[in-house]
């Protein structure tokens, strides 16, 4: 009997330790989540408070996470399309820049990646090396020459100036190239025998199979575009094409900071990018997990 009993007892301990490990793990995850979410929650709560002095007074205490009489007044004040607080317009500008940049970025980078992966392009290896090398050059280092080019082209204070320079990206071209290159070559060959042109193969076969890559590029390029600050501050002079990221900064140059409006504007700025992430997160995460597993 003792022979039979001992394995059962032995098996009990690992289960217990696994449970304890899970509890500790859950607590750690909860703490990390709290640290990440609390500033966002505080921002949302503050945007619902009407009194900017109260917001300032509440910061640093638990009252920052509570609102007794929530109001949307701050959103009403900043949600105009003209005038001093035309955050509705800035938001619309940002959304237009975001949508156009992401869609054009997907098309341009995916096409470039496709040609690099499957096209009969002379000097393909050299082009690929150059693209990888370009990736390490920080955006800020090309800003001054870019500013001169855009100004001389007469594109200052336009949407094109904020979209065009960031559509083609070595990182996203390489990302698409890598994704396409791992799909079987026979798909390309089968489609070309079926009568498809390279463009049709890209559009009808490779793009529908590339949702993880599309999601990853959409989110990364979306965040990058949404958070653009230095470039739009240099290139925009009027409200015409000014994005919300630049507009929010104007709050903090004033003598008295309107925290209530600044918080509402920040919430407005946060919502679209959060929605973009939520829309693509399943593929975004799967692409990251996939690339981790496949190396």
């Amino acid at each position: 009997m003792s022979d039979l009993a001992s394995p059962t007892t032995a098996a009990f301990h690992p289960k217990e330790s696994v449970r304890a490990y899970r509890i500790v793990q859950s607590i750690c995850v909860a703490i990390v989540a709290l640290v990440v979410i609390s500033p966002l929650f505080m921002l949302l709560i503050a945007s619902l408070k009407d009194d900017r002095f109260q917001i300032l007074a509440d910061m640093g205490s638990f009252r920052a996470f509570w609102v007794s009489d929530p109001t949307l007044n701050n959103f009403r004040e900043v949600g105009h399309f003209s005038g001093e607080l035309a955050f509705g317009r800035y938001l619309a500008n940002s959304l237009f820049i975001l949508t156009t940049t992401v869609i054009s970025g997907l098309v341009v980078n995916a096409m470039a990646g496709f040609v690099l992966a499957w096209g009969s392009l002379p000097g393909r290896a050299v082009i690929l090396s150059v693209i990888i090398a370009l990736y390490v050059i920080p955006q800020e280092s090309i800003i001054m020459p870019l500013l001169i080019i855009v100004s001389r082209a007469g594109l200052s204070d336009t949407f094109i100036a904020q979209i065009l320079p960031w559509v083609a990206s070595p990182l996203y071209t390489f990302l698409f190239y890598q994704f396409f290159a791992q799909l079987p070559k026979e798909l390309y060959e089968a489609a070309s025998i079926d009568g498809a042109s390279p463009f049709r193969i890209w559009r009808s076969i490779y793009m529908p199979l590339s949702l993880p890559a599309i999601a990853t590029v959409s989110i990364l390029l979306g965040i990058e575009t949404w958070n653009q600050y230095l470039w739009p501050i240099l290139i925009t002079q009027t409200d015409y094409a000014r994005p919300i990221s630049v507009a929010i900064a104007t709050f903090f140059g004033q003598d008295s900071i309107y925290w209530d409006r600044a918080m509402a504007a920040s919430v407005l700025m946060m919502i679209p990018i959060l929605m973009l992430y939520l829309a693509f997160q399943r593929w975004f995460i799967s692409s990251f997990v996939g690339s981790a597993v496949k190396g």
Binding site: E186, A190, I193, I205, L209
Partner: protein, 345 residues
Amino acid sequence: MANLSIDKVRKYYGAHEVIHSISLDIADGEFVTLVGPSGCGKSTLLRMIAGLEGISDGEIRIGDRVVNNVQPKERDIAMVFQNYALYPHMTVAENMSFALKLKGENKATIAKRVQEAASILALEPYLDRLPKQLSGGQRQRVAMGRAIVRSPQVFLFDEPLSNLDAKLRVQMRSEIKDLHQRLKTTTVYVTHDQVEAMTMADKIVVMKGGNVEQVGRPLELYDRPANLFVATFIGSPSMNLFKGTVTATGFATADGVLPLPAGSHGAAATYGIRPEHLTIADDGFPVEVVVLEPTGAETQVIGRFGQQQLVAVLRDRVDYKPGDIIRLKPDLGCVHLFGQDERHL
């Protein structure tokens, strides 16, 4: 349908020549198998016919048209790939109709042709499924369906059964053959499996190192191999070969003398006999039994003649033990003799 003509075709990768001036004529409606070991150039040749590889020299004609510089989609061919190459995001029906849509066929025609192909291949219940929801055999049938709907002049198969298990391979083999008999479309089929080649083809092209070793009907190749390579490549178990010289008493090897048919060529350097052409006889040469492999219908005896291993396939059920000495006699009408240059004499 059309005949296919390959005329002195060469293929270079850089300075390296992988296809050495191959010429072949494939008649209208013929089923031709390109067979050979890995790296012999059979798939490269098929891809050159398909237009997926360029032609360095020579000419390929489909019907009366030289297709050297014609795009794959304009060659009027259909190809079935080893890994099926089905479009994973499209249903079976969409996979099959893709080429017709690109051709601009109307919806009614597309639906009719897809339905016909699905009916031939018993794919009707699966038309709305995605490839991942199908078994290997069903996927292979979809790949064939995709080829059939286009009614091409030439079917090209690139080792289509390699990914299937043994049982399914046998089943699909007869399905492909049956399909060819019904459609009578000119077919070029690449395989490294000589059994597949023997059972399916009207004509076999045996390749080695980018060269054609022999072209002929399956039994021609089996009964009269042009050289040692074809002799050993075609047939399973493969032909028994013995090195030696022709003498007055027979074919003298290091392990003993083997009987020769009357009037044998004096220059023979290799003696070949297929396993099924050896029979038990008291006046045969002595062989020590090493392993016995009964398959039910026949028994394979793996034995040793001196230091040389050989295989005999016996129709009778025998009960030898390893170490037993048996006597095997070759059917003299089926002895193959090869010269120093490895060519059949």
